[in-house]
């Protein structure tokens, strides 16, 4: 497509052609898709977007859609265009008057990863790949397995062996090869970086990562469109590698640059679990030095000890005047319950991280009461029921007799 200029290194700016490469051959920095924003601005309008599909593909001009010898068949299960809902009851509990939730639990495989995978595998097919693969903390594996199945591609998903049961089952059901690694996500990642060099597979977060990463921009596009083509004052996002946060920030910049929204300042803030908080630690100690850690947290989907986009997440949060927080496991579980019991949204552990970090930040005076704040809720709670299973049994267990029920109710007083 005419809007695409190629790939460009985020570190040294060296350009390269659109292909299945993710690392700059000069400096080893990550490659990113480059667009011709003048052509893009001329091609997009609010009306055209509104007339598009109710999925992330309504923003296709902002995504890497390749032209090529293969038919442009999208790999599309309908990801994206998830609800943006006001959260007055959670807001009241936290002390915020204008809080919103971007509910990405409502995606085809129940997490925001469907956005990146839909984009990555559409490109992969265009580049002629027939096998999809990924290194995953669980959600990405679910999504790659689902999209590959629908696209008729073979799939290999690599995950840590100690994942939640639901994340293993919700990958396996689609029929991929599930490779469980006895180690952390960082061990999985290392293996996949090597496997990707040896096999001709499309590893969504390795060799097709530049395209994959672009999919997360659609969270930002949707937030703005759903607010009536206005940017929010503040977005809070969970951080694992940090890529999603970086891409939401990029999305807002692109909307301003193409004239779809008015320029206004926004802040972006990042949430991590204390058991794996290398980016938040670098933010708090002011060093800007993201030192790898060995993860130990209930929030397994965020357990990336060596976050590839950590530096860019730091840049985005500092530039926009945001904050980073991290919270302990018990706060994460309390955050999940607070979100569910106030707004009816059952998020996985990462959602608990986001809510609990927002709570911390409000208490620390880092968020204005009237600031229009959007919390990104990235995955569904049924994926991580183990986290809460120990503390959420039945309220009463009785036989089917009325008097027992009445007794149980009476015992409450």
């Amino acid at each position: 497509m005419s809007h695409l200029q190629g790939l460009r290194c985020r570190e040294c700016g060296h350009g390269t052609d659109l292909a299945a490469v993710h690392v700059c051959e000069h400096c080893f920095g990550p490659l990113e898709v480059a667009y011709d924003y003048e052509a893009l601005a001329a091609a997009v309008s609010r009306e055209r977007i509104a007339a598009g599909p109710a999925s992330l593909w309504r923003y296709a001009p902002f995504l890497p859609v390749l032209a090529g010898p293969h038919p442009p068949a999208r790999v599309d299960l309908g990801a994206g265009f998830t609800p943006l809902v006001p959260a007055p009851r959670l807001g009241a509990a936290l002390g915020l008057d204008d809080l919103w939730l971007k509910n990405d639990t409502m995606n085809p495989s129940y997490s925001f990863k469907d956005r990146v995978v839909s984009v990555a595998l559409s490109v992969a097919r265009q580049l002629g790949f027939t096998t999809a693969a990924c290194a995953s903390t669980g959600n990405l594996a679910n999504s790659v397995a689902a999209h590959a199945a629908a696209a008729g591609m073979d799939a290999y998903v690599f995950v840590p062996a100690d994942l939640e049961e639901a994340k293993i089952v919700a990958s396996g059901v689609y029929g991929p090869k599930v490779v469980a690694i006895k180690g952390t996500y960082d061990d999985v990642n290392r293996l996949c970086a090597e496997v990707a060099g040896e096999y001709g597979w499309a590893f969504v977060n390795v060799n097709v990562r530049p395209y994959y990463a672009e999919g997360s921009k659609t969270i930002g596009f949707e937030i703005a469109e759903q607010l009536g083509w206005r940017l929010p004052d503040h977005v809070v996002a969970p951080m694992a590698s940090g890529a999603m946060l970086v891409k939401i920030d990029k999305a807002f910049s692109e909307l301003v640059q193409t004239g779809l929204v008015a320029q206004q300042p926004w802040r972006i803030s990042g949430a991590q679990a204390s058991g794996c908080a290398p980016i938040a630690a670098a933010f708090k100690d002011g060093s800007g030095d993201v030192r790898p850690v060995r993860p130990d947290t209930v929030a397994k989907s965020l357990a990336i000890g060596n976050p590839a986009d950590g530096y860019y997440a730091l840049d985005a949060v500092r530039r926009t005047g945001g904050w980073m927080e991290d919270v302990a496991d018990h706060e994460i579980l309390a955050g999940m319950r607070l979100l569910a019991s106030t707004e009816g949204v059952f998020a996985e552990t990462a959602g608990g991280v986001t809510v609990a970090c927002l709570q911390r930040a409000v208490q620390a005076g880092l968020v204005e009461r009237g600031e229009r704040t959007v919390a990104v809720i990235s995955g569904n709670g049924l994926k991580t029921v183990e986290a809460l299973a120990g503390e959420l049994g039945p309220t009463y267990t009785i036989t089917g007799r009325l008097d027992e029920f009445e007794q149980a109710l009476a015992s409450e007083e």
Binding site: E11, V21, H22, V23, C24, E25, H26, C27, F28, G29, P30, K113, C134, A135, S136, T137, N139, L140, A141, Y185, D186, N189, R190, C192, A193, E194, A196, G197, E198, N205, V206, R209, Y212, A213, A240, S241, G242, A243, V290, R291, P292, R294, I304, N306, P307, A308, D309, Y311
Partner: protein, 91 residues
């Protein structure tokens, strides 16, 4: 002291396509120096202007990320494998 260095795909243009090479050196820093001597230009792609490992480069001695050890001063035992691995996005 001789180590096996595993070369990632993006660097194989410098090693004439070789995926592993044998290099002398008792520390990671020495191994990288000797690697650059054998394959000129490879060093500047791994180390920044200050001679430190670039922030998107991960180096392992056998199973250990050298940033958990002593960085460029990490010892490389006889027969060890040194792996150079680009950072990978999340999942």
């Amino acid at each position: 002291m001789s180590a096996t260095v595993r070369i990632p795909t993006p660097l194989r243009s410098a090693t004439q396509g070789a995926s592993t090479v044998e290099v002398e050196g008792a520390t990671v820093g020495e191994v990288l120096k000797n690697l650059d001597a054998a394959y000129p230009g490879i060093g500047e792609r791994l180390l920044d202007d200050q001679g430190q490992i670039r922030r998107f480069v991960n180096i392992f001695v056998d199973e250990e990320d050298v940033r958990f050890a002593s960085g460029l001063d990490t010892r490389v035992p006889e027969g060890a494998t040194v792996s150079i691995i680009p950072a990978v996005a999340g999942g």
